[in-house]
Subunit: 337 residues, 2 copies
């Protein structure tokens, strides 16, 4: 089992692979990786190469772990954290640690290896989002889990180790430091003004308009005023909701519409570029932490630059394209492919 | 002039290039860059291609901005921040911003294009460290500056845009968020126990020994218990000092000895791999912030993995090689080339 270790200075947690440590020759640094394992475990017909499926969107009368699926959720074969066991936190001199309890699942978005989410239809994307919600709701019933993180890495530069389109879900036994800080920042504002800071940001953006990319009646996509990366995009629900999994299912096609438009626009401008997206949502099973002032959203980060020592050292980012200008390029890019 | 913008939720500052925004075609995403401009402005004999030098280590009777130098400090030709002007902070609705005041300098480490710091002698490295100190001491006299950051990006994967060996120095008009948090974390411990947390870490590491790589009487290099990256290394002075620039000049060769050993060991294990290092030091000209509990150190980050959405989203890192094992590889690697 892996270990969770807590930085005694800043409170950051890291997962350390103490079980099967990677030796130096295991790092393919500076070499573009060839990431086409044969057979691809996520491809149609190769269902036996993944752990048994958790849930899938299937044709009627098809059996689990066989063909006939459209979207498939499976446990990660090489999980960062393991689901079995009791959570044990302990000290080690001045250090804190815990065993590596958690869940690590993969949402296989399509049976087709060479498609990306960008190529899927709005209703196909809505089905994927539906599984994000459903798995979150199921996992939050496990009281050991305090945070459910959903993220997608597309392309080798964004850290994807398998080409076949997929999203990852990790359930953590603690709230990560930067999430805790985000919640704390939102709460401070909420207590002081009795308003959600994200709702206030939305209001200001909708008034100024210059950073908005696209919107429908339920969701909006915009380049945040304080982007950390060029062409960073936030997709946010118009109505104040703390937890992503509280989103009514009937709203998901509206979210899929905006997400699809963002994906197509990015491809229009940059071609087939790497990207990450992460759903920022409030903690679950919180021990009294107020999450009322938080407003979930999706952060979309095209991987256009390499993050250098400056950024690592300080959390101080240099953005070569102001969000106002990025938003204009994105607004102008057509959504029809 | 660029803009500094402050994230209203978490308090993070970013530098936005509003002057000369990079258009989409300016990003060489996913394409390894060819970074050999001809002529290289940092090469011997090309001194006219940089802004006028600030200071240099020179042969007797050689003129500034001419050959005859060993180490040369120049302003960055494309500075992230500009030195002229008054600092003006203002609000913009719920957002905070400031004009982009600061200093951005380059320490050209050697006249030779194809050498890396790894190839230099201990005394040559000591001369470079001497300039880090000297420039810090000079810049901190400017009361507008609150933080002086020294960092090196080596190799394209680490974000270096020029091949010729160089280090960068940025003086900032505010303390970056992650530095402020690190200081705060150290102060909390200091107030509670009346001891420096970094000194306690050193004591624990020297007792356990398993994460130590190399040490001399003044400096120690070890893999931190809560590494965020595989083969992450901290170089720390044995004696409690808050500011890097307070290091007595006669100690710098001792630091150079440990840094050189780390560089050679990393090359022994990984070949010519990309890396970043950042000097973590306390803020300068602080308005009453207590920096007594802080202990400066250098964080060395070999660039072996690509940081994925998971890490960006949460500040929650997955480390494939435990620091205990990384330290063993590093101890075992010979320091003779």
């Amino acid at each position: 089992m892996s270990e969770l270790r807590r930085d005694p200075i800043g409170g950051r947690w890291v997962i350390v692979n103490t079980d099967e440590p990677t030796p130096p020759e295991g790092y393919e640094h500076d070499i573009p990786r060839s990431n086409k394992p044969l057979p691809c475990p996520f491809c149609y017909g190769n269902e036996m190469h993944t752990p048994p499926e958790i849930i899938a969107l299937r044709e009627p009368n098809t059996a689990p772990n066989s063909p006939g699926w459209h979207v498939r959720v499976v446990p990660n074969k090489f999980p960062a954290l393991q689901i079995e066991g009791e959570l044990e936190r302990r000290g080690l001199g001045i250090y804190d640690m815990s065993n590596g309890i958690g869940a690590h699942e993969v949402i296989i978005e399509t049976p087709y290896h060479d498609k990306d989410m960008t190529d899927l239809t709005v209703s196909e994307i809505a089905s994927i989002l539906h599984f994000y919600c459903q798995r979150s709701l199921d996992l939050e019933r496990d009281k050991r889990f305090k945070y459910i993180m959903i993220f997608k890495n597309y392309g080798a530069s964004a850290g994807a180790s398998l080409e076949h389109p997929h999203t990852q879900l990790i359930a953590l036994p603690m709230v990560p430091k930067s999430v805790r800080e985000e919640i704390q920042g939102a709460n401070n504002y909420y207590e002081y003004r009795e308003r959600c800071i994200f709702c206030d940001i939305l209001r200001q953006e909708m008034q100024e308009k210059e950073r908005i990319i696209i919107e429908n009646k339920s969701f909006i996509a915009f380049c945040p005023f304080v982007s950390r990366f060029p062409f960073e995009i936030w997709i946010m629900p118009m109505s104040h909701t703390s937890l992503f999994c509280q989103t009514p299912y009937e709203e998901l096609p509206k979210m899929a519409e905006v997400l699809k438009a963002v994906l197509v626009k990015i491809r229009k401008i940059f071609g087939d570029t790497s990207y990450n997206f992460i759903i920022h949502t409030a903690p679950v099973n919180s021990d009294g932490t107020n999450i009322e002032g938080y407003h979930w959203h999706l952060e979309f980060l095209p991987k256009l630059t390499r993050v250098a020592g400056f950024e690592w050292g300080t959390g101080f980012y240099i953005v070569p394209t102001p969000p106002e200008i990025a938003a204009k390029y994105l607004r102008d890019a057509s959504v029809t492919e």
